[in-house]
């Protein structure tokens, strides 16, 4: 159903977009969690986990106890699970999809259970399902009643193989989950200290190990966690790089060689800017290795291949020292109202040149002051004429601006370039509705 139809039926509907990526990450987390019940965990179809539990039954006190533990554990993690149990992986998967909870233990039970499963629950291609339904074939039981060769010829050998797998007539090998790799290294300091250079030396050793590890695996990291442990067991965390909030990275990913110097520099800035609550006994560096990120390399002579790295490094350094929000850029907008004709941007580099209207906006700016008052200042009148530290002489204008009705901030103004007796060049306007005068900017 298209979103528009759904909305027409339920106008209050809240629409969220589905993220396959987040779902996959979530399933991976669950697979790691499930490894506590059996070493053979595999995932399937993006939304199922298969646990080989024969060997774990005794350890966990039998099937029912195990099933309960898995269900409760998943519930505690905020997931709702449909659990099924069968002698073959394929059958378990189908039964779970069909919502058959009763455990199936024997081959005889298996046949009965499978026979009733609707073909829609087999995750077969929609075309195949439709073809089956058009032949009046609705269940797995109907499928296996058909001649085998005929079935394979019409619906493909894959479906027949899956049927055989479900009934245990054909092997069903599956790829097991491999736990992810994480870098973690620690260092015990010879003595409690708050001395910056000692701490940095220690971290640099750890960074070197991180670098070796990255190079060996040809992967990179997006962020690094530096941990300083205090005598009372408290820890001070410092995140370098993209930061823990998984904000989109502003600069390039930290590669092993180019990055270590940068990491070290950044860490120094952060440590300089903070006061440690207590002396430090231990250091540690942790990082999740990110194998999707292709490593940015160096050439033979070790020259940095990323030319704008310097500017990014400067921005990252400024942000590290002043705080993320304190570093902003300016960009133009195609707007006629002066107060709306510019905007602050977080990353001036990314914005630079991307704004289509900027060049058009530029032409407007020739006759405007760079310095705008945060809020236009109301001007007093002398004999009905505007004044600011003396009577104003209107030198150029009017430039009429009537715009902005669409956001409720409609203006109707005549702008003038004016000067006062002190020789200040001012940008003033009269509001065409109220005839009141305002100062909006001062020419440098």
């Amino acid at each position: 159903m298209p979103v528009s139809s759904a909305l027409a039926l339920a106008p209050d509907l809240v629409i969220e977009s589905r993220s396959a990526q987040l779902e996959a990450a979530s399933l991976t987390r669950l697979a790691i969690w499930a490894a506590q019940f059996t070493p053979t965990v595999s995932s399937s179809a993006g939304n199922a986990l298969l646990l080989e539990i024969q060997g774990s039954l005794r350890l966990f006190g039998g099937l029912e106890a195990l099933q309960t533990r898995v269900a409760e554990g998943l519930g505690a993690l905020g997931h709702e699970a449909r659990i099924a149990c069968a002698p073959t992986a394929r059958a378990a998967l189908w039964l779970a999809t069909a919502g058959v909870h009763r455990p199936v233990r024997t081959i005889l039970e298996l046949r009965q259970a499978l026979a009733g499963i609707h073909v829609r629950h087999l995750a077969w291609p929609e075309r195949t399902v439709q073809a089956l339904l058009q032949m009046g074939v609705t269940t797995v039981g109907d499928c296996v009643r058909l001649p085998r060769e005929g079935f394979a010829r019409r619906l493909g050998p894959g479906c027949l193989r899956q049927l055989d797998q479900a009934y245990g007539r054909h092997p069903d090998p599956r790829q097991l989950h491999v736990l992810p790799v994480r870098f973690s290294a620690g260092l015990e300091l010879p003595m409690e200290t708050t001395v910056l250079s000692v701490l940095l030396d220690g971290f640099n050793q750890l960074f070197q190990r991180l670098r070796q590890s990255l190079e060996a695996r040809q992967v990179s990291v997006r962020s690094v966690r530096c941990v300083l442990t205090h005598p009372d067991g408290q820890e001070t965390d410092l995140y370098l790089g993209a930061g823990p909030a998984a904000a989109p990275a502003t600069g390039p990913t930290t590669g092993p060689t180019t990055g270590m110097g940068l990491l070290s520099g950044l860490l120094r800035l952060r440590l300089e800017a903070m006061t440690l609550p207590a002396p430090v006994t231990d250091l540690a560096v942790q990082a999740d290795l990110d194998s999707r990120q292709v490593l940015a390399g160096t050439d033979l002579l070790g020259k940095d291949l990323q030319q704008d790295g310097g500017l990014h490094a400067l921005l990252e350094r400024l942000r590290a020292r002043l705080g993320g929000q304190a570093v902003q850029g300016l960009a133009l907008r195609a707007e006629h109202r002066p107060e709306s004709a510019w905007r602050a941007v977080l990353d001036p580099l990314a914005e630079f040149g991307s704004q289509g209207g900027a060049s058009e906006a530029c032409t407007v700016f020739r006759s405007r002051p760079l310095w705008l008052l945060p809020v236009p200042e109301s001007l007093g009148l002398i004999n009905g004429l505007p004044a600011w530290h003396g009577l104003l002489a209107l030198e150029r204008g009017p430039e009429r601006i009537e715009s902005g009705w669409w956001d409720g901030g409609d203006v109707r103004r005549d702008y003038y370039r004016a000067s006062n007796p002190q020789g200040a060049m001012l940008w003033v306007y009269t509001d065409l509705r109220t005839r009141a005068w305002y100062l909006q900017g001062i020419f440098g």
Binding site: V3, S4, S5, L7, A8, L9, P11, D12, I15, A131, Q134, M135, G136, V137, D142, R145, L146, P147, E149, G150, R153, R154, L155, R333, A334, E335, H336, Q355, G356, G357, E360, A361, V364, S367, R396, G397, P398, E399, R400, I401, E402, S403, W405, W406, D407, G408, D414, Y415
Partner: protein, 1023 residues
């Protein structure tokens, strides 16, 4: 105070730039005291006729021009000073438009170099004008080129003025003031910004480029202009205007001459052709009355010099006849003895007591109007013939101006205001097909928005302005303009979106205003169906029939019509017509003429139906306020039903001249869109009072005129339609199998879907046979039965998912040797598996493969064998497949064919329905007036006629018949979703019985669609 002429002004015919209608601009310029206004839409004169009409009677001189942006960036305005200049301007626009895709244009300097002295030019200089451009312009247009100085309070006015005046002096191109006007008043600023945002496809506030900094581009007051421009610049505008002498009134139109062979004048040739026709129509010799009538008509035609027009139509009709394409003319001149003789119409003047002069009048000076309907599937041949015969520079289609409707306006304005796509679909989806021309706040609230919020307020306000704005030019359904001289000297021609089609820049109303004649070449499905029926009868029974040889005035046909058994019959098959037939009980051809015209929004809204019925049934005396009125209204018992009668009334009762009456007709056609009946009201009522008619009668006539509006139906069209009504009814009555077969083969057309047509013909006792791979053809066919009757065999055309090529291949390969198995079919016809599947889904393989499930299995297993391999019989076990249930079969029938020959789906549900105390359609027939009942039926049509005051009519069917449902506006709004979405609609309601006509007035609706399961039941919805 200086006088001023605005020389640069665009209207909303410069799509998505201009923010005012041409008439608004003209009206405002006149009110401000401008001496002239040039309408200079961008590469277009599409709005010029409207401006011309608006400027009539104003002191304002209207100038005609157009603005161009050349491929190299140079911007010019070309003004037409005389007829030659205008022709050149039209030629220039034509060249520019034809050289580019629809909606854009492409012009270069060389296009301008040939412009004659009658074209004056304005140069719209860029920020830094180039003196090379200046010298090119001066060289080619010296003495008729000016430099436009356009100042819009941008802060640099003074320096810009100085700069341009200096530049003008330097280059010798004199400066002139101009306004680059985009709107008639400053108040259109928000709309103009919105149009820019729509054009740039960037929501406002997102840094939309191209917005104007202010609203100065409107028609400014003379005082303001005087403040901005020095006097010489203003005076120059008036001097230029004084050099312009062209008005659209000068356009003269000439018919093509090649229609008359050498040695003949148009008059003598028309007489010759007509007398030829007389001999064909009356081989035994025509009566003196007929000959006298023909003579009088020819005389009138000669006097008004319309010979060439009749000959043009004659030529087209002759072509159609030579190709065996059935056609029929209608319109003010079509039902004349001359047209009957020429074969343009089949309506025999002897059957009609009508006079030609009623249709074409000496005094009215109204151009004759002949529309010709052709078989809908073959009209294209006629169109291509016209292009070939006259050439593309002399024949073109009329434009239709597509204007913003509420839905498109909401969508575009909503986007410009930054609504998300989801929000937009929420607003527009709720508009559904039956909302009127404005956007009601309830719709906004229903969509989940607060109509009082500033955003919604802005939205509704802007949408209100935008509705009715032209959006683009499209092609008229079939209005051809044909001329002796190249058309592009009269009006520019541009590309239509269809390949090989060109349209002129004016629409039908514009042509009317300009007195240009058009021939409407229209498509009519019923003609295809009738021709097919004739052919079937000739092939199967050897019976030759044509429109005029169908036996006339057959009582059995009128008996069938009076029982409203008219499904499939032309025009009178709609729900409203069916409800009228038993009351009107037509007995003669002229009754059919009235029947066709009376069930129209016009007569219904003018409240003419009931008075007519009462008088016809003798329940009310037939009276006339005066002998003059009696003469006009006698044939309709004193009740005006036809458009012509209203105009005649204005003449005889209110003292209008025929010319004024014609203006009234035009105003009637447009008042709903543009208003402007006010002064007619005064004139009409005053005129009637002066002639001693009561104010009540006068007011009643005026209300009837308003009600008629654009929906008034002319007698001249009704007369032609009535013939097709009679012929199709005769065929339905006497040849139901052939007629239904032809109807099915002419789909889509008419009011009913194949399912209803098939049910209806089965009720008439005709055997209908299913689609079958070894029997069916692509079209539906008739099969002889042993008892001498014919059975209707459904054709492959009904099978969804089967292409015509595949269907015909099945027939071709079958010749003489039926298919034995699906594998055989697959090998011989070479159908892709998907098309085989379509046949299986339709149940068409039952004869060779068994039930649908087996057919599917067989289709899935069919394989094309490689020719080089020995034929390998694939031995397979027989599959164990369940047969489909009856319900499954019915659902599959509907899904594939849209109809079933099995039981009606509701027959299967009947036990269930009866338990819920739901009555069937046949049970309702027994129930009395006012009884409260619960019913259920499958929705076949929904209709909300504009004339019915918000009432929705729903037709529902069950296994026993049809139930007509009336849903009042209040209920419809309360249960909107059920009403629009239910396929099986349950209703609690009250019976309303008027004679034989039964309606159910709904009190509460319920959606029972879930009972139908997978069944697909399409409803035809009309507004």
């Amino acid at each position: 105070m200086s006088a001023y002429a605005e020389l640069h002004c665009i209207s909303n015919f410069t799509f998505l730039r201009g923010a005012s209608h041409p008439a608004e601009l003209v009206g405002r310029a006149a009110a401000l005291g401008y001496s002239a206004l040039a309408l200079t839409d961008e590469c277009s004169v599409a709005g010029i006729v409207r401006a011309h009409v608006a400027a009539r009677g104003c002191a304002l001189q209207l100038l005609i021009g157009s603005e161009f942006r050349l491929a190299d960036g140079l911007c010019l305005v070309v003004l037409a000073a005389d007829r030659e200049g205008y022709a050149a301007l039209c030629g220039l626009i034509t060249r520019g438009r034809r050289a580019a895709e629809k909606g854009s244009y492409h012009v270069v300097r060389s296009d301008f170099e040939q412009l004659p002295a009658g074209c004056l030019l304005l140069w719209l200089p860029p920020e830094c004008p180039d003196s090379r451009d200046a010298s090119w312009l001066r060289d080619h247009f010296g003495g008729r080129i000016w430099l436009a100085v356009e100042l819009h309070a941008d802060g640099n006015e003074a320096s810009r003025r100085t700069q341009l005046v200096a530049f003008a002096k330097e280059t010798g191109i004199p400066p002139v003031a101009a306004g680059a006007v985009h709107m008639h008043v400053r108040g259109r600023r928000a709309l103009q910004d919105t149009l820019t945002a729509i054009r740039r496809k960037a929501p406002l506030g997102s840094g939309t480029t191209g917005l104007y900094p202010n609203g100065e581009r409107h028609l400014r007051t003379l005082a303001e202009l005087q403040r901005i421009y020095p006097d010489p610049l203003l005076a120059a505008t008036v001097q230029i205007a004084e050099r312009m002498h062209f008005s659209l009134d000068e356009l003269r139109y000439q018919y093509p001459r090649e229609l008359v062979p050498p040695g003949h004048t148009p008059a003598s040739w028309l007489r010759y052709r007509t007398l030829q026709g007389v001999r064909e129509r009356w081989p035994a010799g025509a009566s003196p009355d007929i000959l006298k009538l023909v003579d009088r008509e020819l005389e009138l035609i000669s006097e008004l010099r319309y010979e060439a027009y009749f000959l043009t139509v004659d030529d087209i009709v002759c072509f159609a006849r030579s190709q065996g394409i059935l056609c029929q003319g209608r319109g003010s001149a079509a039902n004349s003895a001359v047209c009957f003789c020429l074969g343009i119409t089949e309506v025999d003047p002897a059957h009609m007591s009508l006079l030609f002069e009623r249709f074409i009048s000496r005094e009215r000076n109204e151009p004759p109007d002949i529309d010709v309907d052709f078989e809908h599937e073959r009209r294209e041949e006629v169109i291509q013939y016209i292009y070939t015969r006259y050439g593309r520079d002399r024949a073109a289609l009329t434009a239709t101006v597509i204007t913003y409707c509420p839905r498109s306006a909401l969508r575009d304005v909503g986007r410009a205001l930054g609504l998300s796509e989801a929000q937009l679909s929420r607003v527009t989806r709720n508009l559904h097909w039956w909302d009127g021309r404005s956007v009601a706040p309830e719709r906004i609230r229903e969509a989940g928005f607060d109509p009082a919020s500033p955003l919604m307020h802005r939205l509704v306000m802007l949408v209100g302005h935008l509705i009715g704005f032209p959006r683009h030019l499209s092609q008229h359904v079939g209005g051809f303009v044909i001329a002796e001289e190249p058309l592009c000297r009269l009006v520019p021609i541009e590309n239509a979106s269809m390949a090989d089609r060109t349209v002129i820049q004016w629409d039908k109303d514009d042509l009317d205003e300009m007195g240009l004649l058009k021939v409407d070449v229209l498509a009519l499905g019923m003609l295809s169906a009738i021709r097919r029926t004739f052919r079937l009868l000739r092939e199967l029974k050897g019976r030759e029939l044509s429109l005029h040889t169908v036996p006339a005035e057959d009582p059995a046909v009128y008996a069938m019509i009076s029982q409203a058994d008219t499904m499939g019959v032309f025009q009178i098959e709609s729900r409203a017509q069916m409800a009228m037939l038993p009351r009107l009980k037509p007995r003669t051809y002229y009754d059919l003429v009235i029947e066709v015209a009376i069930i129209r929004p016009g007569p219904i809204q003018g409240d003419m139906v009931h008075p007519y019925l009462r008088r016809r049934n003798g329940e009310e005396p037939v009276t006339y306020p005066s002998p003059e009125v009696r003469q006009v209204l006698e044939r309709t018992l004193g009740v005006p039903i036809f458009q012509e009668q209203v105009m005649q009334l204005a003449v005889v009762a209110a003292g209008f001249t025929p010319g004024e009456a014609d203006q009234l007709r035009r105003a009637m056609a447009a008042w709903r869109r543009r208003g402007g009946l006010g002064h007619f009201e005064e004139r009409l009522i005053a005129g009637m009072q002066a002639r001693n008619y009561s104010v009540e009668f006068a007011r009643q006539i005026f209300n009837q005129i308003c009600g008629f509006g654009e929906y008034g139906f002319p007698e001249s069209h009704a007369a032609s339609f009535a013939l097709l009504v009679y012929v199709s009814a005769w065929l339905k009555r006497h040849e139901p199998a052939a007629f239904t077969c032809a109807l099915l083969n002419s789909q889509p057309m008419g009011f009913y879907a194949p399912s209803q047509l098939v049910q209806s013909v089965r009720c008439a006792g005709v055997e209908v046979r299913p689609v079958e791979v070894n029997c069916s053809a692509w079209d539906c066919t008739l099969e002889a039965r042993t008892d001498g009757q014919f059975a209707l065999r459904l054709g492959f055309r009904l099978v969804s998912g089967l292409t015509q090529g595949a269907g015909e291949e099945v027939v071709r390969q079958r010749a003489g040797q039926p298919y034995r198995t699906v594998q055989d079919l697959h090998e011989r016809a070479g159908l892709p598996r998907q098309e085989l599947g379509a046949l299986a889904a339709a149940g068409a393989l039952a004869g060779i493969a068994g039930h649908r499930h087996r057919a599917r299995w067989a289709v899935a297993g069919a394989e094309l064998l490689l020719p080089l391999l020995p034929v390998l019989q694939i031995a397979e076990g027989l599959p164990l497949l369940r047969a489909p249930t009856e319900a499954q079969d019915i659902a599959a029938d509907y899904q594939s064919l849209g109809l079933t020959l099995g039981r009606h789906p509701l027959a299967l549900l009947r036990t269930h329905l009866r338990r819920a105390a739901i009555s069937s359609a046949s049970e309702l027939q027994e129930a009395g007036n006012g009884v409260r009942v619960r019913t259920a039926g499958i929705v076949t049509t929904r209709q909300r006629p504009a004339s019915a005051g918000g009432v929705t009519f729903v037709t529902r069917e069950d296994e026993t018949g049809y139930i007509n449902l009336i849903v009042w506006r209040q209920l419809a709004e309360r249960q909107r979703r059920v009403l629009l979405e239910a396929r099986l609609l349950g209703v609690w309601g009250q019976l309303q019985r008027q004679g034989d006509v039964l309606h159910l007035v709904a009190r509460r609706l319920e959606d029972l669609s879930s009972l139908l399961g997978q069944l697909q039941t399409p409803s035809r919805d009309f507004s």
